[in-house]
């Protein structure tokens, strides 16, 4: 409970110091340019083993997954959208990023091992807010990729039946 309140206070401070007033990035409804880069850095880690290997297909898969992430956030309730914004604020503001994720550099500058270690820390954290953050990031990325027909060959899903 104490930690919950402390986290809320930190988040409130982050909002004050580093309000993300940036406009949505091109082709995106909600995510701004920094958030787009952050999600793009998470996608290959969350989806390791499920993305195509070929460079061009892989780049397209990552781009489309970020766009799907953005689309999914845009369909959430406004309070939930605010929470996602706060999550990206924590990840972009160096002091909170270091305190909450253990990453010294931004996600796109961190190594895949460092990003995976951060995700694992949040996944197994004793703080609910960090477990919730992990769930949000991983599930939004997984949801965005696995309904992209480009992912279906990897998982062996033939797609919906054709109606005669």
């Amino acid at each position: 409970m104490k930690v919950g309140l402390a986290s809320a206070a930190v988040l409130a401070t982050v909002r004050y110091l580093e309000r993300s007033e940036a406009a949505p990035a091109a082709n995106h409804r909600i995510l701004d340019a920094t958030a787009v880069v952050t999600v793009a850095a998470l996608v290959p880690i969350v989806l390791e083993g499920s993305l195509p290997d070929e460079a061009e297909a892989r780049a397209r898969a990552i781009r489309e997954t970020v766009e799907g992430f953005d689309r999914a956030v845009s369909g959430m309730s406004l309070p939930t959208q605010k929470e996602v914004e706060q999550l990206f604020d924590v990840l972009r503001f160096p002091p909170t990023r270091l305190a909450f994720t253990g990453l010294w550099t931004s996600l796109e500058e961190s190594t895949p091992e460092e990003v995976a270690a951060f995700l694992t820390r949040w996944r197994n954290s004793r703080f609910e807010i960090q477990r919730a953050g992990y769930q949000a990031l991983s599930q939004l990325i997984q949801a965005s990729w696995f309904d992209n027909p480009s992912s279906w060959a990897t998982i062996g899903y033939p797609g919906p039946p054709k109606l005669a």
Binding site: I45, L47, E48, A72, G75, M76, T80, Q81, E128, P160
Partner: protein
């Protein structure tokens, strides 16, 4: 062969349908009865009242979408047809709630499982909540009537492999089980019920009662979110709705005001209490939105040597009530076993882990078998359910998971793993962030006993939201009477699952249909008198 689309055809015939999101000016409507919500409760109510010759306006937050636009794609269906893009969650994010938000409500996207209210549940409602009129015998004609109306019957087609594994595992262990009756007519056994039936085979409100009411002259206002019920004295006079765009995330400034003699709220057990709370409906005992139940549901995945293809074929055709029937209602929580549809997004977000750990399950997607256990909450002092609260104008359910539920989660994981191994699973894993796949029932038993159960580690989902405006004979502990009429506000009724004093202990659609039919028939008689 092209499938007729009853929505497109109805609109062409001149149905009175208003898309509130596209209005360029405010509108005012007048009618005998305003019905808020077009799902199981609102749909049945609309048909019965319209058939009685009453003028009806149905208000629905979601869009009017017909079979032509049901393309069996999760990516299209979830944002369009579900609350919060199928990502609605409890306050602490520990439970994900699947709830419909479209014309037809949950019935447009549910998995067609049709059960009468279990007699033990009705007996408990009678004894603990004074609902003496709602006995098994008294409700039987209402069940029969709705079963006939919605073609609810045993389904004659063999179960898909995902369900047959449940059947074979249970049979091998000597555990009682049965076949689930379904509300379908001409079902193509496609398996995409959750994305809207492209064949109009599912007898949802979208293709049955709502078209019938519209053919009788009812008005449907869709993409309209009701925000307020206005009262004068002890009567309601009007309700206000605003257009919503972008899958519900954005509210427009255009208002639709509906004046009516009577108001039926059937917006589902999160939004119904939210509307009543936001409108300041009298609640002297502070009951509205409390005791909200979910059938908290946990999941077990298994890899089979053969293809399971849980994405094809009717979902949920086999069930077992063994772990409900064998348990005392007021003892440790009991659970129902079923086998859900397995599609890429649902599987992708429900399987725990990330990276290679996650990929090793997804890359065996056709061989993935999935069982769910739905827990019967609300019957025990330690099962008070959750509470609907309003946060920045949006309703959210605060449902803390406690040890009473976790005790059931562990027993459910054990039961599901045993069934899956009995049916020949190679590996089994409870869907929990701390679990690893194991290859024998003996190993599974030890691993599950050792698992730390806590929120946001165990995957907990719900597709059944119930309670928050409970029926009862005593106004001190209930909001509406056994006919769904509000105890204090003369012309307000509630006709959805929010009136349930506890969870049902079975998939709730048929309970909602039967009670709504009973309530609406009595309401029609009183309004015609």
């Amino acid at each position: 062969m092209s499938v007729p689309d009853p929505i497109r055809d109805g609109l062409a015939r001149g149905w009175k349908a208003i898309d509130a999101a596209t209005l360029t000016a405010d509108r005012e409507l007048e009618c005998d009865v305003a019905i808020i919500g077009s799902g199981a409760g609102g749909g049945v109510t609309a048909e019965i009242l319209a058939n009685a010759g009453l003028s009806v306006v149905i208000l629905e937050e979601g869009p009017l979408v017909g079979s032509t636009e049901f393309r069996m794609r999760e990516r299209e269906a979830y944002p369009r047809l579900y609350q919060e893009s199928a990502g609605r969650q409890t306050l602490d994010k520990a439970i994900t709630i699947l709830q419909g938000r479209c014309v037809g409500g949950g019935t447009t996207v549910n998995w067609t499982s049709s059960f009468r209210t279990p007699p033990r549940t009705l007996a408990h409602w009678n004894k603990a909540h004074g609902l003496d009129a709602l006995t098994e015998t008294a409700l039987a004609p209402w069940f029969t009537r709705m079963e006939e109306r919605l073609s609810i019957a045993p389904w004659g087609v063999p179960p898909n492999e995902n369900n047959d594994i449940l059947r074979r595992g249970l049979a091998k262990l000597g555990i009682a089980h049965g076949a689930i009756r379904r509300n379908v007519k001409g079902c193509g056994n496609l398996g995409y019920c959750g994305m809207g039936c492209p064949l109009n085979a599912k007898q949802s409100m979208l293709v049955t009662t709502i078209p019938a009411a519209l053919d009788r002259g009812a008005t449907l206002v869709h993409r309209a979110r009701v925000t307020h019920l206005a009262a004068e004295g002890d009567r309601l006079v009007s309700c206000d709705a605003f257009g919503v765009e972008r899958n519900g995330a954005v509210q427009s400034a255009r208002r639709v005001r509906v004046r009516a003699r009577h108001f039926v709220v059937a917006a589902g057990a999160i939004n119904t209490p939210a509307i009543l709370i936001s409108s300041g409906i009298p609640d002297p005992n502070n009951l509205i939105g409390k005791r909200t139940f979910l059938h908290p549901t946990v999941v077990s995945g298994a890899a089979f040597p053969q293809k399971v293809e849980g994405y094809y074929g009717a979902p949920q055709t086999i069930y077992s009530d063994h772990f409900l029937d064998g348990a005392a209602l007021d003892g440790p929580i009991g659970f129902k076993l079923e086998a859900p549809p397995v599609h890429p997004i649902l599987a992708g977000i429900t399987l725990p882990g990330f990276g290679r750990e996650h990929a090793r399950w997804m890359t065996h997607f056709p061989n993935l078998q999935v069982l769910i256990a739905l827990m019967r909450d609300g019957f025990h002092a330690d099962s008070p359910g959750g509470q609907v609260v309003i946060r920045s104008g949006w309703p959210v359910l605060d449902y803390p998971l406690n040890d009473y539920v976790w005790n059931g989660v562990r027993r459910a994981y054990l039961a599901m793993a045993e069934v899956q191994f009995a049916a020949g699973a190679q590996t089994v894993m409870p869907l929990h962030e701390g679990a690893q796949p194991v290859s024998s029932w003996r190993e599974a038993k030890a691993a599950i006993e050792a698992l730390t159960l806590r929120p946001l580690h165990a995957r907990v989902v719900s597709a059944h939201v119930m309670g928050g405006c409970p029926m009862g004979s005593d106004p001190r502990n209930s909001v509406v009477n056994d006919s769904g009429r509000h105890h204090l506000v003369q012309n307000l009724s509630v006709h959805d699952a929010s009136t349930f004093p506890t969870s049902v202990g079975a998939n709730p659609q048929l309970t909602i249909y039967a009670l709504a039919a009973r309530h609406a028939t009595a309401l029609a008689a009183s309004l015609k008198a």
